[in-house]
Amino acid sequence: MPDRDVVIVGVGVVGAAIARDLSRFELRCTLVEAAPDVGTGTSKANTALLHTGFDAKPGTIESRLVRRGHELLSEYAPRTGIPLERKGALLVAWSDEEQSALPGIIDRAHENGYDAIRGVDVEELYRREPHLGPGARAALEVPDEGIVCPFTTTLAFATEAVLAGCELRLCAPVAAIERLEGGGFRVDTGTGSLTARYLVNAAGLRSDEIDRMLGYDGFMIRPRRGELIVFDKLSRPLVDHIVLAVPTSTTKGVLVAPTVFGNLILGPTAEDVEDKEDTSSTSGGLAYLRSEGRRIVPGLRDHEVTAIYVGLRAATEHADYQITIHAPEGYVCVGGIRSTGLTASMAIAEHVRSELGAAGLPLRPRQKLPGLRMPNIGEAFLRPFARPDRIAENSDYGRVVCFCERVTRGEIVDALAGPIPAVDLDGLRRRTRVLMGRCQGFFCGAHVAALLAEARGSS
């Protein structure tokens, strides 16, 4: 007999969402993750948009799940403290050719069940975004597009799962998987093996490799690299919507968007690469982004760059998510989840759970569920440094350690001691914003490293 009901391979936003969903039922679940923390792959480096799915390919699984995921995450985020802002998108046409594509985009949105899209004339466009560069012809408004914190989203899902009793094994790369006689799987990881009746593959960039370990060969991950530039917070007044480009057959183009942390981002590039770990930025990519930035919002030229980051999308040779249910043996592959995965994550989880139920997984709801409230790291709500009540309760919330991002000692201590504690500087960054700001550690780098070393030394 397998000793667990479900093992989920990969703790990105998708794996974590599936674990959260399943943790609401009387099940023994385990999450296994190769990295020392959750959300360290594609889930941490993307455009962090909440998509409506208006431009998805109609009739695909992706189209359906993005739409449903938008609904679910829009409800879950405010309830649990995930920063999410419905800024609305403006899709701008800069040439006759692009302008002629707009009616088709409206039709496609309608086919995808999204009716709130509407045309915006040039005058209204420049009134709403006065810092856009010259030459815009027309635009579409997509009022329900939003921005969301990718770090808190993954962490919230994983935390809720862990609080409900889901086991989390970190630093556990899957080396081999075998089928058990009588049903179920044995998963060998770097830190031991475990058995489970059901197996969910949410391994992101490695999902094709896990699939092949089980003898399947349905798809191949071809990482598509996206470079992004984060501009200084002082640039934030330049743009107040997500400014999208007219998509072509190969790319959605370069966008400029606010972030929930109060910056502007510019990107992404789209380049197929071989190496699943090659998250390097390139001089060509950065030069291209800067020229696009100068064209779309010329004022960006006068602003400092705070950070550059690079993500790898888990693209495949197919135009849709690769979600396959192998019902008889209890294996679900959730592969090829591209940049829309952050939005779709909860709907993917809902879909996987219902398929597992249909495949025989008993789903008895738990009586008692953990309440979850994530620390707010977004700009739309007050953060601890600005809250007299929090400082009165614990003076460490009045000790600003990271000046650029206004992160307090209290928040750092919390992140080092939470249900899924930060184990390295990157983990602290994602949980608190520490070191993410314009000085990149000039002022507080040594202080933060000392706080981390102290916590690691004592644990």
Binding site: R406, G441, F442
Partner: protein, 417 residues
């Protein structure tokens, strides 16, 4: 003699802010409050563990940490309040300051505000250096604090980006922390420090200076493994193995509070535009020290703070009206910036009786011209201009500025002029 009960609030407790506070007290201002966001006031010299501080302001030579400590003592002895762990995060709607400290969140009214928030080095990302994002990439500021806090170890083999005074200081810190410095890379045709520093680095530490060399990439995971260097003359690239990269200099004023307060910035310095009395474009708000421009030595910053105190006390005593914006002073290339950078109707000498001028390129002994609307205000020869180092220009000409005229232009005299 203060106006009402509101204190003069000095934001930033480095040399400029603390020297300003001492001078304000000496001039009889009753309530002086210095807010510093660090756990210990004193500013950048706290972790600059080398000699050479205090010559022009305290008339003695101290090591950085001792100098910082001395200024905190002087400020407290003078009767100023120095509050540490107190960060000004913004301005409230009525012009007061929003402050966060362990004591709580408060809105602080001030009779005058002196911004002395200093400057910082541009990090790797702001310099758009491509490649991976490994551990071991630092600025001098972070390096010096790491060595001070965590003692020895920062890395084995380091490459230093930049070749000005602070870059040589980073070399010394690295060597003391047990690292080999493989080389210093500068895009300029030669280093920008004293010949003595350069000779010392070459002879004592055997550190080569790679001139006309750009850092074209950083590679490695999870730690730096090598950097890619680009020879700007030949276009050739080469790779150098190292585990640490220190980005030095390329200073930018820490101007967030200034921008949030609606102060006009100067495009050359990226600091607030100030007149010769260090008044910003916002009434009641002064600025001093390295917030005004890329780094000057600590004692120069302190003297700038002292200079601001003169203007502040005059404003409080005489309820002086705030001058109109004044006439801006701008530089043409290769000149990079001049500070102060406006001349208002309040004619008074700038700090140290001179304007500080910086160039982006090396310029041999040359003639500088200052003009307003094609009317010459001053011209004269200056010694060699070196990027990253200031040259003094006299201030005798400010009385001739026409307050209703166009901007004042500072330029290298071209042949034929």
């Amino acid at each position: 003699m203060s106006v009402g009960e509101d204190p003069v609030v000095v934001v930033g407790g480095g040399p400029a802010g603390l020297a300003c506070a001492v001078e304000l007290r000496r001039r009889g201002v009753d309530e002086v409050l210095v807010l510093d966001r660090e756990a210990c006031a004193g500013g950048i010299p706290r972790h600059s563990a080398h000699q050479g501080f205090g010559l022009r302001d305290l008339h003695r030579v101290l090591a950085g940490p001792r100098y910082a400590q001395r200024y905190v003592e002087l400020a407290r002895e003078s009767g100023a309040r120095v509050q540490e762990e107190a960060m000004v995060t913004g301005w409230s709607a009525d012009g007061a300051l929003d402050v966060t400290s362990p004591e709580g969140r408060e809105t602080l009214r001030a009779s005058a505000v002196v911004l002395a928030t200093g400057c910082r080095e541009r990090p790797r990302s702001a310099r758009l250096v491509p490649g991976s994002r490994p551990e071991g990439v630092l600025t001098t500021g972070q390096l010096q604090q790491l060595v001070k806090l965590n003692g020895e170890h920062v890395g084995q083999r380091a490459v230093v980006v930049g070749a000005e005074h602070v870059s040589f200081s980073a070399v010394m810190t690295l060597v003391h922390a047990g690292a080999d410095v493989v080389g210093m890379a500068t895009e300029l045709p030669r280093h920008q420090s004293f010949a003595l520093f350069r000779a010392g680095a070459a002879l004592r530490y055997r550190v080569p200076v790679w001139t006309r060399t750009a850092l074209a990439g950083i590679h490695g995971r999870p730690r730096v493994e090598e950097v890619e260097l680009l020879d700007l003359d030949s276009g050739q690239k080469r790779r150098v193995a190292c585990d640490t990269v220190v980005f030095t200099a390329d200073w930018i004023p820490d101007h967030e509070l200034a921008v949030l307060g609606g102060l006009e910035l100067d495009s050359g310095t990226r600091g607030p535009r100030v007149d010769t009395g260090l008044r910003t474009t916002r009434p009641g708000v002064f600025a001093a020290g390295n917030l005004l421009h890329g780094a000057e030595p600590a004692d120069i910053a302190a003297l700038s703070g002292r200079h601001a105190a003169v203007s502040v006390s005059r404003r409080l005593a005489e309820s002086e009206a705030w001058p109109e914006r004044g006439v801006p002073i701008t530089c043409t290339r290769p000149l990079q910036w001049i500070a102060p950078n406006s001349v208002s109707a309040k004619i008074q000498p700038p700090p140290l009786d001179r304007f500080a001028l910086r160039s982006a390129a090396f310029v041999n002994r040359s003639r500088i011209e200052i003009r307003q609307d094609d009317r010459p205000l001053w011209s004269g020869r200056v010694a060699r201009l070196t990027p990253g180092r200031s040259r003094a220009l006299p201030a005798t000409w400010i009385t001739r500025v026409d307050q209703n005229g166009g901007p004042i232009i500072v330029a290298l005299a071209t042949p034929g002029h």
